[in-house]
Amino acid sequence: MSFDNLYWGDIGAALAQTLAMVGGALLLTVLLGLPLGILLFLTGRQQLFQAPIAYGSLSFVLSIVRSVPFIILLIVLMPVTVLVTGTSLGIRGVIFPLVVGTAPFFARLVETALREVDRGIIEASLAMGASTTQTIVRAVLPEALPSLLAAITVTAIVLVDYTAMSGAIGGGGLGDLAIRYGYHRFQTEIMLVCVAILIVFVQLIQASGNRLVTHFSRK
């Protein structure tokens, strides 16, 4: 095994692709999953807008998406992906299925995080004349901020995992590189480098997530 003739240019490009996929998908996942999570929270049992049918339906749909293994979801979604983004290839073609795959997961984490907020705080906010929107935006979300940051951290790491799979069907990135060279061409050293970079990347996400959570914890 030799590390002399590594394609560092390819590795750099793959890293950039992974960063773009994780970053873009994370942003969209939060934008989509946060409202879904709030909706789950509000319609849940004994919550502000208790609505068993709405909650049940939303919950059912999210669970179905989460039941499909991501690699299958990628393939099943391909026609839809083409409709939405115009292509099923490259970063553009991969971010859509990534968001569909992780948003339900993130929405569940948001729901749990909001449920952890002391009911007394919600009651106090309402008693002070706050509307439901004010209570969510000004009281519940700030109170849940550390849990939400932890949820974003976990979701980002799941996204790193998923990009490896989406890379395999045309998204590129480090996972794709590792599979193409390491698995198909028996160039184990490239796979090892890719894995090492991924390990460092995930560690960095986790560490910065933890720091943010600690910084915003006031309890």
């Binding site: 906010s125 004349g129 009281a139």
Partner: protein, 349 residues
């Protein structure tokens, strides 16, 4: 100021609906401190939540400041809630906001104040509750008593006419409880805010309230001025709550049973008579002896009281009782055979 008319509230239970409140009628006057006492499960928390419609009644009407509030919705309900402050047992402060931020919260909600106005109001509110130097701390850095002071400042932020206190001192130690109750009384005096105070402790009522209603299993079983309810409890639930406040579990009335020969009477001295040597003088004048079987001495707000169960024996027991009554002492016969020769003495069984 606040009127509840024939309020009923039911909750769904395992075996059908359970009546949490059942035909409640209450009238609370402007500027008074009104206590609602009851053991846990009596419905008092539900009762106080009806006043700002955190709970809606199944039947009956709620009036605040002459306005029928029971049907209020949307913006009108939110405006109404701003005129009613609320203080909670577990403080319910926003942990992500500083002390100042917590007090500013209700002001920000209104959208009617600029930042400078809010800062000014927050400063004067924190000054009032004695927390000016803690403005930039977070709630977790405060003691229980300090947290409740933040809760009180927050409840006063929108200059409410009514302050609802739901077990506001139940999570505090006795000394802090006293300080917080003193603060509430001071606020009542200075601002004229009507205070509704929910508690399960008779001592809190005795220390703070003008009038009290006793709640038992969803009904008001006794109501009146505190001294009357506290010193002459009639309902079993009231008696139980009064006894809980006694150091030895309240053997006051049970002691009457062990009265050997004499006449057991309960004497209640209130106001100035509590400090005068009435009992000894009257015993001498009527040639009677007395044995003190039980007693309690203290204050109801600022008014001193003393209450004893004494056994009277000797020549002119009836004369002694008449003399005591003439001196402004409340005399109640305890059990045993009544004295037919004394008219107008209340019998307590």
């Amino acid at each position: 100021m606040i009127r509840l008319e024939n309020i009923t509230k039911r909750f769904a239970g395992k075996e059908g609906a359970i009546a949490a409140l059942d035909g409640i009628d209450l009238a609370i006057a402007r500027g008074e401190i009104f206590g609602v006492i009851g053991s846990s499960g009596a419905g008092k928390s539900t009762l106080v939540r009806l006043i700002n419609l955190l709970e809606r009644p199944d039947g009956g009407e709620v009036f605040v400041a002459g306005e029928r509030v029971t049907e209020a919705k949307g913006q009108r309900l939110r405006d109404l809630r701003r005129t009613i402050g609320m203080v909670f047992q577990h403080f319910n402060l926003l942990s992500a906001r500083t002390v100042a931020g917590n007090v500013a919260y209700p002001l920000e909600l209104t959208g009617r104040f600029c930042k400078a106005e809010i800062a000014e109001r927050v400063a004067s509110l924190l000054d009032r509750v004695g927390l000016a130097e803690h403005a930039r701390k977070y709630p977790r850095q405060l003691s229980g008593g300090q947290k409740q002071r933040v809760g009180i400042a927050r409840a006063l932020a929108c200059e409410p006419q009514v302050l609802l206190c739901d077990e506001a001192t139940s999570a505090l130690d006795p000394q802090t409880t006293g300080a917080v109750l003193d603060l509430l009384r001071q606020i009542n005096r200075d601002l004229g805010v009507t205070i509704v105070l929910i508690t399960h402790e008779m001592d809190v009522i005795r220390h703070t309230c003008d009038r009290v209603a006793v709640l038992d299993r969803g009904r008001v079983v006794e109501a009146g001025v505190v001294s009357q309810v506290f010193l002459h409890p009639r309902h079993a639930a009231t008696l139980r709550l009064v006894r809980e406040a006694e150091p030895d579990g309240g053997s006051l009335d049970a002691a009457a049973v062990s009265d050997p020969a004499g006449r057991a009477v309960r004497l209640t001295f209130t106001g100035p008579s509590a400090h005068k040597p009435i009992l000894g003088r009257i015993a001498r004048e009527n040639l009677v002896d007395y044995a003190i079987l039980a007693g309690r001495v203290g204050h109801i707000r600022e008014t001193p009281y003393a209450q004893f169960i004494v056994s009277l024996s000797g020549r002119d027991v009836a004369g002694a009782i008449a003399g005591l009554r003439a001196s402004g002492v409340d005399v109640e016969l305890q059990g045993g055979a009544p004295l037919p020769e004394i008219e107008g003495v209340r019998h307590v069984v």
